[in-house]
């Protein structure tokens, strides 16, 4: 049957609103230019200026499918983009969407340094070309006991790591987020120290699931979701999936992580999703899956968020109650 069912069409092939809206802008621009060129002294080329390649809402593709993707119901994009924990832009769930609109994410570069043979500074455009982009539909589980399903876009972080060529002394990878009081004034009342920092053990960073992420739902990341580049580790609580990365550093010792600094008793370095180890103040045995139904669904939390096959071997013999 040539006519596709809606579910046969990957999200990446649906023309994003930004693209067809830009076509209208283009046509409007031509009309305006024709009218204005006689009045204004500006060159016509200014009116026909193409939108920056990586502005918010740019389509990303082509996208390879991934065997790591789940077929569970996607969370509606409206919810993924309006229910965020990004305290630099305010601590209410609806704040980041409201207050990150002016966040400048271009130009952007990520520096990679530390215990590596080939340190460097990568522009976003360079990063996007290091490997074919994949669509990975991951479950994303917040420590607050709610979860979403998001079609992320990126490639395994190990690609970048191999380019940097870590030395044998590198045991951990440290990450740092962008922070700037002028663009993120609300961050000062967040109750956590900024800039946001995170870290992984080297094997966790090299695990194929660990995604260097550039987009979601077929487009580049919205500001409130960690534009323009972030990490996603689906087997860990969401706060470990650090947003808006500016620095990657390979280090010898376990690096500091923001939530561990804020409250070591509640937030450990590993923070693997584990229904058997409760948060000191609430149970982690179940979660509310935000699947688009009005109230969502309460479901049992799975060990490692259901990614045990890919990650459990990294933790054999480790007491996960001690190393929470």
């Amino acid at each position: 049957m040539l006519i596709k069912k809606p579910s046969d069409i990957p999200y990446s092939e649906i023309t994003p609103k930004a693209v067809y809206m830009n076509r209208r802008k283009f046509l409007a621009g031509v009309a305006a230019a024709t009218g204005a060129v006689t009045l204004a002294a500006r060159p016509v080329s200014e009116w026909l200026e193409p939108q920056s390649v990586l502005a918010d809402g740019t389509k990303l593709g082509p996208l390879a499918k991934s065997p790591y993707s789940t077929s569970e119901t996607l969370t509606p994009i409206k919810d993924v983009t309006h229910y965020n924990n990004y305290y630099e832009f305010g601590t209410d769930k609806s704040d980041p969407a409201k207050y990150s609109t002016k966040f400048v994410t271009s130009p952007w570069s990520v520096s990679v340094d530390g215990e590596v043979n080939k340190p460097g500074k990568y522009d976003l455009e360079e990063l996007l070309k290091l490997a074919p982009l994949e669509e990975r539909i991951y479950r994303h589980r917040c420590v607050e006991a709610w979860s979403i399903v998001v079609p992320w876009i990126g490639y395994s972080f190990s690609v970048l790591a191999k380019m940097a060529d870590p030395k044998p002394t590198a045991k951990f990878v440290a990450f740092q987020s962008y922070y700037d009081v002028k663009q993120m004034p609300l961050g000062q009342q967040a109750g956590i120290e900024l800039p946001y920092v995170e870290g992984l053990r080297l094997d966790e960073a090299m695990n194929p699931l660990t995604l260097l992420t550039f987009g979601m739902f077929g487009e580049t990341l919205p500001n409130q979701d960690g534009a323009p580049v972030r990490m996603v580790m689906p087997w860990k609580y969401g706060f470990k999936s650090i947003k808006s990365i500016v620095r990657v550093r390979f280090v010898k010792d376990m690096p500091p992580t923001t939530w561990n600094i804020a409250n070591a008793h509640e937030y450990g370095f590993y923070s693997n999703v584990n229904p058997q180890v409760d948060h000191p103040r609430w149970s982690q045995a179940s979660e509310r899956r935000l699947d688009g139904s009005f109230f969502g669904k309460r479901i049992k939390t799975a060990m490692f968020n259901g990614y045990a096959d890919q990650v459990a071997s990294m933790y054999t013999g480790m007491d996960l109650r001690k190393y929470y």
């Binding site: 305290y87 009342q189 409250n263 103040r281």
Partner: protein, 217 residues
């Protein structure tokens, strides 16, 4: 100047009642217009909880206000405000047992037993039940003024437990819970000071009358 000389307090009651229904009406409206966000259960829980604390603070502010402003008629709204605190508290509690926990009794018992912030919240709510049940004039008569007054001082514990419940549940941004705690502390502090002054005056008056009776003897 006693304002009740100029306004018929009875006519104020219906509009104030409707005002108190405002929050739940707004919540229902938002529900039907899909404006409760991505996680409506969390939104409803948070909203009903906040309004419970607001209603408790409003109830507790009646007595300080009527004394300081010398508007005794304010007392006639105290029961309404108190019952609205119980109303919003009941909505918050119902959201917890029905929408949040799905009537999972085992999980809820676990929560109350193991999560201090839920223990505090549960205490705050449960203490309001006898107050709601004995809120009628008939009940005041049956219990007698003194016993009724003592029982209803449980609202102080409720308000404190409620403020602690909120403070203990937030992850990092403590500003709003701390503001509520400050208001509750202020409202209870007023009573502590008033009570201390009352005792001093009573002691002084007792001493004075004892001296006079000795002198006149």
């Amino acid at each position: 100047m006693d304002l009740s000389r100029h306004i018929n307090v009875r006519w104020l009651k219906p509009p104030v009642f409707l005002l108190c229904l405002g929050p739940i009406a707004h919540l229902v409206w938002m529900g039907f217009h899909d404006e409760l966000g991505a996680n409506p259960v969390e939104y409803i829980t948070h909203s009903t909880g906040t309004w419970t604390l607001v209603a408790l603070c409003v109830t507790l502010s009646v007595t300080p206000l009527r004394r300081i402003l010398e508007q005794n008629w304010l007392i006639r709204f105290r029961r309404m405000f108190g019952l609205f605190a119980f109303f919003y508290g009941s909505l918050h509690f119902t959201t917890y047992i029905w929408l949040y926990s799905g009537f999972d009794l085992h999980a809820m018992i676990d929560d109350v037993y193991k999560r201090p912030f839920i223990t505090a919240g549960f205490t705050a709510y449960v203490l309001m039940i006898p107050l709601a049940l004995t809120s009628t004039s008939g009940m005041i008569r049956r219990l007698g003024g003194r016993r009724w007054q003592l029982l209803h001082e449980l609202i102080y514990v409720s308000a404190l437990a409620g403020a602690i419940h909120y403070y203990w549940l937030v992850k990092s941004d403590e500003r709003v819970p701390l503001r509520f705690a400050a208001v509750v502390a202020l409202l209870l502090g007023y009573r502590a000071i008033f009570y201390a002054f009352q005792r001093r005056e009573k002691a002084a008056a007792a001493k004075k009358s004892a001296r006079e009776s000795v002198l006149s003897a």
